[in-house]
Symmetry: D2
Subunit: 168 residues, 4 copies
């Protein structure tokens, strides 16, 4: 018989009641100014985009962050492996070339939905911009031969954030 494992196992006599006593998740609140901006490293973007990690959800693989994007900065090519939603609170964002080239040009204050499998070859910020984004699943960063640079999900962003803040 297969062994039950993990912290949630409960037993009654000889009967295994595995995994049944899970706890609800805790609520969270974070004052955004209380946390310093960190620089997002170059494999992912160009010209000094900074970020704050606001939340990770290990079970679903979801995560939430806010980005500060100087004029002329951009994110390198990536595919959203699950859906993402953003609130552009400041500035302008050219997605998939912007509306002149068939993509979207987002003006603040604006809401956007990027579906699972959306590919963004270059997400460009012509003026200083800021946006908040919730992600389900990782981003798949690609180089210019479409080779994998990195698959970056809740676990990788958490590790990067903790390292940047001198924790762990």
């Amino acid at each position: 018989m297969a062994a039950a494992k993990g912290p949630a196992t409960a037993k009654r006599g000889a009967v295994t009641v595995p995994y049944a006593r899970k706890n609800p998740c805790a609520g969270e609140f974070m004052h955004i100014d209380a946390v310093d901006w960190q620089v997002m490293p170059e494999p992912f973007c160009i010209n000094g985009i900074r970020w704050k990690l606001l939340h990770t959800s290990p079970e679903l693989g979801a995560w939430t962050a806010i980005y500060d994007c100087p004029a002329g900065s951009w994110f390198n090519a990536h595919v959203h492996l699950g859906p993402g939603e953003y609130l552009l609170t400041k500035g302008r964002m050219d997605v998939r070339g912007g509306s002149l080239e068939g993509g979207d040009t987002a003006y603040a204050v604006g809401y956007g939905y990027e579906p699972a499998n959306a590919r963004h070859d270059k997400t460009f910020f012509p003026i200083a911009s800021e946006f908040y984004m919730t992600f389900i699943g990782p981003l798949h960063f690609l180089d210019d031969q479409d080779k994998t640079v990195a698959v970056v999900g809740w676990k990788e962003v958490q590790a990067m954030w903790l390292q940047q803040n001198g924790v762990e």
Copy 2:
């Protein structure tokens, strides 16, 4: 300033790095025969449906169970508040009146998808049947005036399962 709370808070000097050190979820395995069937109580079904709770996911509000349904048993009216998927491993299930009345008649071995907001006025088992089902979100059980009987999600099924197994 709002206080950070919960077990996942990390600090670096005066800077709060809230909620950033989450652990991955644990894997689970459960030999299904190692767990006893429990009777599903009457508000939810008629004629002796039994169940085993296999998994709960508190973060997404998902859960997984297997049901043993004698000939002539049924589930009472309910709405799926999120999507559900089932594998009918034995028997036959008339969903939404069955195919004679515009619904589906599922024969084993069969796969079914019930979308968010699917309403099942009576899910009927004309012969002895068994099915495995994964749920995202709760079920909303209704009486014959469409009043709420119960909203039953991961937390409520876990509490019922633990109580039925003499735990907690």
Copy 3:
């Protein structure tokens, strides 16, 4: 044999290939000022909260909205049936009594996570406030005897929004 149904069915000779040709979801962008505020009706809140519906996700049962909350307004008692995340862009929000009574007091600009099953007896705005929120699953509104007032998910908010905008 069970009949295939729905728009995604494909056939090859005698072999059914059901449901396999699904389309990716479309991206969305919405300039928030281009849409008028609508009044959120009284069963759900008090003192003139207004809203804009930004997105619905029928498959997962997710949805996204932004709320404008005058000083002294509040949401009535409700349970989040799935997780929700918010960005408080302006003002102050007392959740579960606020920090003086064991809950959270959110100050702008702040991020919050409300887990599945979070119960909010009264979410109060002592000053003029605005917040953006993503929801997975419905809200379960309760009266003061804990009876169901309404279960409000993507489908219900879409119907209310379209009705308020004179569409459909």
Copy 4:
């Protein structure tokens, strides 16, 4: 102002009501014997594993399949980018080396949960086995230098399944 796009846009006078008229997803039912097994190609597994694609969910990036695994077959190294749940209906599956090497050995009939980020270097079937599995998000297949072989999600499995069935 940013242009609204996509099929779900509605208008009322000069006011845009974007994306608000989404349709509920359709229910599905599929008699599993009505569909032929297809061979899963070699980059993903060894020794003749066959599969049937049962469902795709483009919005969440979820998908569901059933696998027929001859004695001595295995899946190559992969990481689950989101959670997966399986029902092992026949046989035995050694996950992460099996229980002798610190992993799980699943015996039929058994239920398993593999969390987001679970890495399976070799999932081995010592005897003829069959399992049904629901996935949220893609699988990331790796070679023996941990380089990406492929990221395989709902869209890629759908394309492979349609091609194998002579559709599209």
